[in-house]
Symmetry: C2
Subunit: 349 residues, 2 copies
């Protein structure tokens, strides 16, 4: 089959690889109906050292179950499934606590520990299928927009939701969202669903911030740095926002979050940090009793809750996809997203 | 009157200063019945540059109201009062939210912005008396042990409580407390009151950890660094504690907290950080969805809740005081605490 591999910064290729097979009785094989390129895929796209063996890419997909191992009980051949961006057993202490990203037996797609390929491919072997996959009452011929929205449950909608939930967004909250990528925009949508009164979206790309307004942003701040922080302070009576959702992952976004959060407030990060150390001392987090939270979203914990409103169309998170490409075109999807010509590209194998 | 000033690292003196006076109609004058030296006073005791004018010391006290301004309504002359370690108005957005440490009009004792002296003195001018002081139905001739316990409501008990509350300690929690100073020990007491099932106290001073056991610690780990972290992991089924209360403030304590916290858990800091930057990236906080919280405790928000059990003797937080000295001896109190000959010294003017 065809699958997407990255060999170094800027070097993405679609190659022929052996078809995946069932290896363990808890596996399923899923034919990919839609996959996509993630903002987090752009981090290695900028920095990956040359890797002759390549690394399989893609961690978001929806598809149809083609085969199951003997111990799989919750999905059947022919089921339409949504796959979270981590594999999880569903039974360990962390899965039971709804923190599937820390599953004691699972792992991230493309990670050697679970031995799977990536999702930007024709098919994927899914370990621990019972704990990982969620079925949805649709089929691969369903409306394209619906499929796009279901695909967001694989990562970006659940990730935006995680940011908002961990941030403690509640009725009447003042929220600032940093970043106008797909996750930032869906953090806006999630904050609105959770009742936020004020949602300030910090982003510079008008097509994106317009979608942010459609999702519920009440204000847009295009400026960055000191000027951007000053504008957020002005919009919040000088106090800053109670909740800041950081959906970028670069250090300046962290500093911006610290600069706009209200004393006693929460910074909830879902952008994968591209830094290790950052200020946490008296002048940043400690003095004003600011809480720093977030991490990789256990989207598996949220799909059951978010799916009904996607199915009935009351929210349309799939609007973050502004292009669809074939699997062969996946390298172009990286280029387009990196150049910000595309917000998020769906891949149709 | 006599008051304690610090002039540089290791240089504490008791000097004659003018008696405080009422300056604003919202002021009260309080004659100090007991003050004390705080673990956080030891930070400048180690590092303060030479300061010819000196800096007034002390931010914890109980006392008797000697005079009030015309606008003060909640305390009267003769009232016995507990003073939190910050001055707060009681009416601003942050005070109403129970975050008096971020009061828009208040400030820290000895801070120029509020123009008060320190509490290691015979008397103190208390700005914003209505928002700051809490009365207690005792008098200065009450039992010494009771006065000691009331004095902990000024800072260390409320600070330990804040750590536990912010950490989300609840029935059945596994908690690790880092630091066997007064705040760490009262964090143990607080965690026990909030229902923690396992409380691991990391500390090396047996007299202190023995008091920690009396307050509710189920385990004591004397080792530090990798060995200490390994012991905590062993005690928690390899997973670490759900809540870590960090009551030291030095960088190694932060690293220890990161090393013993469970995925999805909370590090709640109340030790004043003596560092700015620290690891917050994928390998420390982000990957395992660890929350970092805490800050200076708004003890004013907790006194009403904690006072009844202090008055009825069902908790005796005053046990953290192992010495009482006269005001003239205050420099010796610093020496004794710095040398760890004393856990916490009460000062009786």
């Amino acid at each position: 089959m065809k699958a997407t591999y990255m060999y170094g910064a800027g070097d993405v290729r679609v190659i022929d690889v052996p078809d995946p097979t069932l290896r363990l009785p808890t596996d399923a094989l899923v034919r990919v109906v839609r996959a996509c390129v993630c903002g987090s895929d752009l981090h290695p796209y900028h920095s990956m050292p040359d890797t002759p063996a390549g690394s399989p890419m893609g961690h978001e997909f929806i598809g149809v179950v083609e085969a199951i191992g003997a111990e799989v009980t919750t999905v059947s051949v022919g089921d339409f499934v949504i796959s979270p961006f981590v594999v999880s057993c569903g039974t360990c202490e962390f899965c039971r606590a709804g923190l599937q990203t820390s599953c004691l037996r699972g792992g991230f797609w493309s990670d050697d520990t679970i031995g799977t390929g990536g999702a930007q491919a024709e098919a994927v072997r899914v370990p621990l299928a019972d704990g990982t996959l969620v079925t949805a009452p649709v089929d691969e011929n369903s409306d394209d927009g619906l499929l796009a929205s279901l695909l967001t449950l694989s990562d970006v909608y659940g990730t935006g939701w995680h940011a908002a939930v961990r941030g403690g967004v509640t009725s009447g909250s003042s929220v600032t969202v940093i970043g106008d990528g797909a996750v930032g925009l869906l953090a806006v949508l999630s904050a609105r669903q959770l009742g936020a009164e004020q949602i300030i979206l910090m982003g510079r790309h008008q097509a994106r911030t317009d979608l942010g307004r459609e999702f519920g942003a009440t204000d847009v701040v295009a400026a960055r740095g000191d000027e951007g922080m000053a504008q957020v302070r002005d919009l919040t009576g000088g106090l800053g926002s109670q909740v800041v959702l950081e959906a970028v992952g670069h250090r300046p976004a962290y500093d911006q979050a610290v600069g706009v959060v209200r004393a006693g407030g929460v910074i909830s990060r879902v952008g994968v940090p591209q830094y290790d150390d950052a200020p946490v001392g008296f002048g940043s987090l400690f003095g004003p009793n600011v809480t720093l939270t977030g991490g990789p979203a256990p989207v598996r914990a949220y799909i059951d809750q978010l799916l009904p409103q996607v199915l009935d169309g009351s929210v349309v998170p799939g609007k973050v996809f502004d292009r669809t490409m074939s699997l062969a075109e996946t390298p172009k999807a990286y280029t387009a997203m990196d150049a910000r010509e595309a917000l998020k590209v769906a891949v149709r194998p």
